[in-house]
């Protein structure tokens, strides 16, 4: 499988000033390198302030790192100009945590889905509607949602709509920044299953996007990722396959994250999954 997206030595600083004017620079990213293969499932975990969201924004070209390179299919994204970037952006899509503010609440679900398609200008109105319904099906939403206002949908439905919108442009990489964290557990499970379906190894490589899940919940990340990257204070402190991280974590930060999220699962007597 080919390498899709690589980040090399990313550094990003934010200036934060205190009340009395003393400047303190915060290094959100301090030399981060990561590689995403086509069709891969990667979880990036860490506590808040670890830099994981900043990494997501840089990978999605929403923010520019202060130094380091990001390569997408061998093109250096930190060097390309705005018009080339516009071509590349549809291929790397980002879904946020707060679905409520992710789209115009007055839009209907259909309008939300059609917006990226309209910007592409390749389909006419009928084709767009068809594609919109197709997308709804793909994320498990009923077709009659098409004409309902986005603000009328439940949290889980909105998040699925956000994923559908991200899929509209057939991205090669789908980055989800804490997109499941605000959901109830039964709804989280449904959306997680959706992500598993989308990246199912059984489907053709061309159709399935690489999935990058940013989360502070190691358990959820482990459930849908093959590989896990652990961040702390802007650096990657551990990375490896899910089995290794879960079964044999080395770094203190990893162990802390494990303790905070598996306290339940470790002791709970589970029946075998259906």
């Amino acid at each position: 499988m080919g390498v899709l997206l690589t980040a090399e030595n990313l550094v990003k600083e934010y200036a934060s000033r205190h009340l009395r004017g003393r400047g303190v620079a915060v290094r959100a990213l301090d030399g981060v390198s990561v590689e995403i293969q086509a069709g891969a499932r990667i979880g990036i975990v860490g506590a808040s302030g670890s830099g994981k969201s900043t990494l997501a924004f840089c990978l999605a070209c929403v923010e520019r790192p202060d130094s380091g390179t990001i390569r997408f299919l061998n093109r250096d994204l930190t060097r390309v100009d705005e018009s080339e970037l516009r071509e590349i952006r549809p291929q790397i899509q980002l879904v946020f945590q707060d679905s409520a503010s992710a789209f115009n609440p007055k839009f209907t679900a259909g309008e939300v889905l059609e917006e990226p398609l309209k910007l592409q200008r390749k389909l006419n109105a009928a084709e767009r509607r068809e594609r919109g319904v197709e997308l709804l099906e793909r994320v498990g939403l009923p077709g009659n949602i098409f004409d309902r206002q986005a603000s009328d949908l439940s949290g889980g439905q909105r998040q699925r709509l956000a994923i559908a919108r991200a899929l509209a442009l057939e991205p090669k990489v789908l980055i989800l920044d804490e997109a499941l964290s605000a959901l109830d557990y039964s709804v989280q499970a449904q959306v997680a299953n959706l992500l598993l379906d989308l990246s199912d190894k059984a489907a053709a490589t061309a159709e399935r996007p690489a999935i990058v899940l940013i989360s502070h919940d190691l358990a959820m990340a482990a459930r849908i990722s093959d590989e896990i990257v652990v961040m702390e204070s802007g650096r990657i402190v551990e990375r490896g396959s899910t089995e290794k991280i879960v079964g044999d974590a080395e770094h203190a930060a990893t162990r802390e994250l494990l303790a905070c999220s598996t306290g339940m699962s470790a002791k709970f007597d589970q029946r075998p999954a259906v």
Partner: protein, 327 residues
């Protein structure tokens, strides 16, 4: 165990402007003893936040209490006048919310905001108040207390803000703290820290806590009792360990199974999906005849859509609202 709070048959309805009443809470019964930690487990729409808000009569304008009583050591809080209620809030029973960022005034220093609560409930001098607040901040923040006292909310992290909210809630030494999803917007490490803080406060001040959450794992090792809510009703009520280890109500079982497992060293099979609860969330605007969970229940029987089950007592001291255990 001395009974502190007794919620009796509480029913609450919302009247949205577009019409169509929403029955958010139906006949809820709940007892909390002194110093007891009770966890309320439920998803959105279960009525857990409504329960929390109703205790102190803090419902939004379109909320109506249809029936029931909330008795705090002999007094029905629902019958109090506004000024009497203001005396109870914050000093006998406190409430903290989910979004700590929104719970603090953006333009007032956090130390002062804690002092405001003291000021509202007592006649001490400014110095006495300041001293009490400093002491509390030392307890909660340790070395950083001084700096934090003078900070504004936007200069603090989410976890710190929530700790300030907790400080505000306990500064007048209430007997009961109601925490409505206090950690939902915090990361997993901070969540544990907040839970540890609450445990410490309960030990040192004999503080009863009603901890509302949708994250079952937080209640483990923390709550004494767990109450599970679904569609505005309490469906299970029992000892925390028992409810988590061996849930009786089909909903509780299904909910706890939805949590992702790590497999702990065992490989999770590629095609294994996470268990979900079949069906859609319940429609709270309809009053169904039968059990609210029936459409999604794997164990449903004929009687389940004919009548609503009551809370039946089971042998280990718990209660379950399911015909599998009675009726």
């Amino acid at each position: 165990m001395e009974l502190l709070l007794d919620v009796q048959n509480l029913s609450v309805r919302y009247r949205p402007p577009g019409g169509g009443d929403v029955f958010a809470l139906r006949g809820a019964n709940l007892q909390i003893a002194r110093g007891q930690i009770v966890g309320v487990l439920g998803e959105s729409g279960s009525g857990k936040s409504t329960l929390a808000a109703s205790v102190l009569t803090l419902l939004p304008a379109n909320g109506v209490i249809d029936a029931g009583a909330v008795v705090l050591q002999g007094t029905n809080l629902l019958e109090l006048e506004r000024d009497e209620l203001e005396r109870v809030r914050g000093s006998k029973v406190s409430l903290i919310f989910q979004e700590p960022g929104e719970a603090l005034h953006p333009m007032i220093r956090v130390g002062e905001q804690i002092e405001e609560v003291l000021r509202a409930h007592g006649g001490e001098s400014k110095e006495a108040r300041r001293g009490a607040v400093r002491e509390l901040l030392d307890l909660i923040f340790g070395g950083e207390a001084e700096r934090i006292y003078f900070s504004y909310p936007h200069q603090l992290s989410g976890g710190q803000r929530q700790r300030i909210a907790i400080a505000q809630a306990i500064v007048c030494k209430p007997k009961l703290l109601i925490a409505d999803e206090p950690t939902a917007s915090l990361d997993s490490v901070t969540r544990r820290e907040i839970v540890e803080l609450l445990k410490k406060l309960q030990r040192e001040r004999e503080l009863a806590i009603l901890f509302i959450t949708h994250s079952a794992e937080l209640l483990e090792g923390f709550a004494d009792r767990i109450v599970v809510m679904y569609a505005g009703q309490i469906v299970e009520d029992g000892d925390a360990k028992k409810v988590l280890k061996a849930p009786r109500h089909p909903y509780t079982e299904a909910l706890l199974k939805c949590r992702p497992t790590l497999g702990l060293g065992k490989t999770v099979r590629e095609d294994q999906r996470i268990p979900v609860i079949a069906g859609e969330a319940p429609d709270l605007s309809a009053r169904s005849k039968g059990c609210a969970f029936e459409p999604r229940c794997a164990d449903r029987m004929k009687i389940c859509c004919e009548r609503t089950p009551e809370l039946f007592e089971i042998e280990n001291g718990g209660k379950v609202r399911c015909f599998k255990f009675g009726g």
